[in-house]
């Protein structure tokens, strides 16, 4: 039985045992129909031209984990940004782990999607926001159909959340192959500020497929910093669908650090509903082996006087494949838009491939839009210079690559996080840079 059929029949079981709330129930039913019609995307679709899911869909994933698994904090401490105080929402094999988590209801809600979907006091928020930003594409719809667990974060007006929130999904490998579909909803009201770190980590080599959907709503003048750390094991695949709907004068940034995983697909979509909005999309990708990382971004400029900044750097080694597909749409009304997009890539192996497709679709005339994209190598003369000063070639190369990705790192606002990323990069490049930034 292929995965699609399995999911469709699992849905019937799933619908039986989740609480029947008619509002969400209807959404789920509609969503599963969309998925049934469209199925998994294939390479024939323009948005999936360079990424094939065929291989990872062949695994016999279990859709519902059979047992609850516990893990010790000390075993997984290294996956947290543990040297700072933070709120934590931790899931093990898709189930909430209360002893690893630290949530709150004190003046704001940093808790669980399962609670938000079932408790009446969240009903208004769910009706106003849930599934309002996600597209009706097949994979987000599949997630909607099975949405039951994930992070729910609601920050009310004028609130500065003093510590970052970490959302971590562990998979233990107790099931032979596991499919996870976390669903996150983040609503940030006027003038509030929040920082969120998201990570998916599998603890063994069992295949995992995560199809995650995150919806983020930033109301007037809200500020959201979102960091995604993707440094998973080589059997874990991730399809991340993130939708950000911004209101006027809000500022949202998403940094994606893609270092691990078998196949990673990031669908990152920004919708600007208001004036003077600022959106930032940045990413560093450093991969090797047979890894495949696909960044698919969309910035939709709908109203005037907004800005967007995109900067994606990629370093591709061994047999890896990188894809960048960035789209900027500027609507007719969105005059005075400034939209920038850069995608720079270094190929360090002759078997690595990079496919990049930066797109602009512009309907307004008074705009400044540009995109740039380069594919190249490390600068030989810079390498030579460093070697002539006694820096071994390996370190010199690492330094250059580090410098190459530093543009993206420099805008990370949590210092401990920046350090952590620096270490991961050094580790990836197989050197000790000997300094932290």
């Amino acid at each position: 039985m292929d995965l699609k059929e399995k999911l469709l029949s699992s849905y019937l079981v799933f619908e039986d045992h989740v609480d029947i709330d008619t509002y969400v129930h209807n959404l789920r039913n509609d969503a599963i129909k969309i998925f049934e019609d469209k199925g998994f995307p294939t390479k024939k679709e323009e948005a999936w031209k360079y990424t094939s899911l065929n291989k990872i869909l062949k695994e016999d994933y279990s859709v519902f984990p059979k047992q609850e698994n516990a893990i010790e904090y000390n075993d997984v401490k290294k996956y947290f940004i543990h040297d700072i105080d933070s709120y934590k929402i931790v899931f093990i094999d898709g189930k909430y782990s209360s002893h690893l988590s630290q949530t709150t209801h004190d003046g704001m809600d940093i808790c669980l999607m399962s609670a938000a979907l079932t408790k009446p006091k969240y009903r208004l928020i769910i009706e106003n926001y849930f599934n309002k930003a996600a597209t009706k594409d097949s994979l987000p719809s599949l997630n909607t159909a099975f949405s039951s667990e994930g992070a729910y974060i609601h920050i009310p007006k004028n609130k500065m959340v003093e510590k970052p929130i970490q959302i971590i999904h562990f998979s233990t490998g107790n099931e032979s192959a596991l499919m996870l579909q976390p669903r996150n909803l983040i609503v940030v009201d006027e003038n509030s500020h929040v920082q969120i770190i998201e990570r998916h980590q599998s603890l063994t080599n069992s295949p995992v497929l995560t199809n995650s959907v995150t919806e983020i709503f930033t109301n007037k003048r809200a500020i959201v910093d979102y960091y995604k750390i993707q440094n998973d094991s080589l059997n874990a695949s991730l399809i991340d669908n993130t939708f950000i709907k911004q209101k006027q004068e809000s500022v949202a940034s998403v940094h994606t650090f893609a270092f691990g995983g078998n196949l990673v697909r990031n669908n990152l979509n920004f919708y600007q509903h208001g004036e003077r909005i600022d959106s930032t999309l940045k990413g560093v990708t450093i991969i090797g082996d047979k890894q495949h990382v696909d960044h698919n971004t969309l910035v939709h400029h709908i109203e005037p006087n907004c800005e967007s900044h995109q900067d994606y750097k990629g370093i591709f080694g061994e047999n890896s494949t990188g894809v960048f597909n960035g789209k900027i749409i500027v609507e007719k009304e969105a005059q005075k838009t400034n939209a920038f997009q850069a995608n720079n890539n270094i190929l360090i192996s002759d078997k690595a491939t990079i496919n990049t497709k930066p797109q602009l679709e512009i309907f307004a005339d008074d705009v400044k839009c540009s995109h740039g994209c380069t594919i190249g190598q490390l600068d030989e003369s810079a390498l030579f210079y460093m070697q002539s000063r006694g820096i071994p070639k390996k370190e010199a190369k690492a330094l250059l690559m580090y410098a190459f990705s530093n543009n993206v790192l420099s805008s990370v606002k949590i210092p401990e996080m920046k350090q952590r990323i620096t270490k991961i990069i050094a580790n990836k490049l197989g050197v000790n840079l000997g300094f932290d930034l």
Binding site: E46, Q335, L347, D350, I354, L360, I362, C373, T374, Q377
Partner: protein, 482 residues
């Protein structure tokens, strides 16, 4: 040629709608509408073609029947009904003329209106023209001069008869019959076109030129051009197109194949101003063209195009850089106004070592038009040290038009160096203010700025064409200033 000044342009703009929108009353020999095997056979027979060519056409026709029209381009239009088109239309006044004087005077008048009277053209810089009206070559000039050098420049139907070995060897090698829907259609029904062969080591002494016009209502124009530059040769080839005003959409599906053998260079320039439809978006030509060139070792192919016409343009002149050290270039200006739609760009396929390509594309959209750049740069895994530079700039005039860029970049070799940049902007108010301040009115200022914007590409055109192109550019932006 006297200098064409801004004032002349203003005068012209006042009076002009579509300058070339007239219809020449020449008795045409037109086939019944529709397409089937018999029509394909009939075309072939009419052209007195050998059996292999007929078979080749039929093979293409079979392939075409299996294919569906492509949908991926960023254009919207009413699909042409392929059974409602007459696939052959030839001016009746055959047979061939030995000299210009014998040509139907009405035909000559047509050219005169186009501003390309043969006499003038002959004098002007020694251009040899293979003039094509509704698919049949009616006049070929300077053939003798070219013949002395061993250069073959004739219509493709003549080439099929007289140089079958060359045609047989090269036709369909760069654009295979089954390449795409319109290429297959063209392969089945092409009525005429130009053929050019430059022998080894010969530098073609003059610019070769063809002029296409779609004349008869309801006829599709299916041109087939084949240019072969043998080892170490050089040729510069010019192509210009116009079509009279017609309300139904006319289909133009041409195929151009360029073959540059070792050390050869081909420069192919196009000025296209098919009828773009009127200001309400009614009528106009569908321009679905497949153009591709193949570069062997150290060869160079350079495409230059100025696209101002057609209701819908769908065109990607491409280079296959097969040989080591080969070079591909693409320079393009695409102007869309009113309801025009253009989806144009290039493909650079790097197969050989040390191959280089340059892409400069300038899109100007005005009115309610949509202008897209779609390009592919592909570096194959064996293409060591490949180098590409692409630049796509778009200029928007008015807030009802759109500019789009869809560049595809695929690199499979780690020694590749690729740069791509694109910008979209409008004409700066400060730029116009500066011009106004110096006594240049807004309309002229815009013409000036647009010209500057396109300079990089205009400079690549041969002189006579550059003048015409500049003029066209300004005419097509008429009324978009505001």
């Amino acid at each position: 040629m006297s200098k064409y000044t801004e004032d002349d342009l203003r005068e012209e703009l006042k009076t002009k709608e579509y300058e070339y929108g007239f219809y020449t009353d020449i008795k045409s020999d037109t086939f019944p509408i529709g397409l089937n095997e018999d029509i394909v056979r009939a075309i072939s027979k009419k052209k007195e073609e050998p059996q292999w060519m007929t078979d080749w056409r039929l093979e293409s026709f079979k392939a075409w029947k299996e294919m569906t029209e492509p949908e991926w381009a960023n254009v919207k239009y009413e699909k042409p009904d392929f059974q409602a088109i007459s696939y052959y239309s030839a001016p009746n006044s055959k047979p061939k003329y030995d000299s210009i004087d014998e040509v139907d005077p009405e035909l000559l008048a047509t050219f005169e209106k186009l501003g390309i009277s043969l006499d003038e053209q002959k004098k002007l810089a020694g251009v040899a023209m293979d003039v094509v009206i509704d698919s049949v070559s009616v006049a070929t000039t300077f053939k003798k001069t070219l013949g002395e050098k061993g250069i073959i420049f004739c219509s493709i139907s003549e080439a099929i008869k007289e140089h079958p070995e060359l045609v047989k060897k090269y036709i369909g090698t760069v654009v295979p019959q089954k390449d795409n829907f319109y290429a297959a259609l063209n392969s089945a029904v092409f009525s005429d076109g130009s053929f050019c062969y430059i022998p080894k080591g010969v530098r073609c002494p003059m610019e070769l030129s063809t002029y296409f016009r779609i004349n008869q209502a309801g006829t599709g124009q299916f041109e087939r051009t084949l240019v072969i530059a043998d080892e170490g040769s050089y040729v510069s080839y010019l192509e210009g197109c116009t079509a009279p005003s017609r309300d139904e959409n006319q289909l133009h599906a041409a195929v151009v194949e360029l073959i540059a053998l070792d050390d050869a260079e081909i420069k192919y320039s196009t000025v296209q101003n098919w009828y773009p439809g009127n200001a309400e978006g009614k009528g106009g030509v569908y321009n679905f063209v497949t153009k591709r060139g193949l570069c062997e070792k150290n060869a160079k192919i350079s495409w230059t195009q100025v696209e101002t016409g057609s209701a819908v343009t769908w065109k990607y002149p491409s280079c296959i850089l097969k040989g080591d050290n080969s070079v591909g270039e693409f320079y393009s200006i695409a102007v869309t106004n009113n309801y025009q739609q253009a989806d144009t760009g290039t493909k650079m396929i790097h197969l050989g070592k040390n191959t280089r390509s340059t892409i400069i594309s300038k899109g100007i959209s005005a009115g309610k038009s949509q202008n897209s750049y779609r390009g592919l740069v592909q570096i194959n895994s064996r293409a060591e040290n490949a180098r590409n530079f692409s630049q796509c700039d778009s200029l928007l005039m008015g807030n009802e038009c759109g500019a789009h860029t869809f560049p595809y970049i695929e690199a499979k070799n780690n020694s590749a160096k690729i740069e791509h940049e694109a910008t979209t902007s409008k004409i700066g108010e400060d730029q116009i203010f500066y011009c106004n301040q110096r006594g240049i009115d807004t309309e002229k200022a815009i013409a000036l700025i647009v010209n500057g914007f396109s300079k990089e590409v205009l400079n690549k055109l041969p002189m006579e064409f550059a003048v015409e192109a500049q003029k066209l550019l300004e005419i097509s932006l008429e009324g978009s200033v505001g």
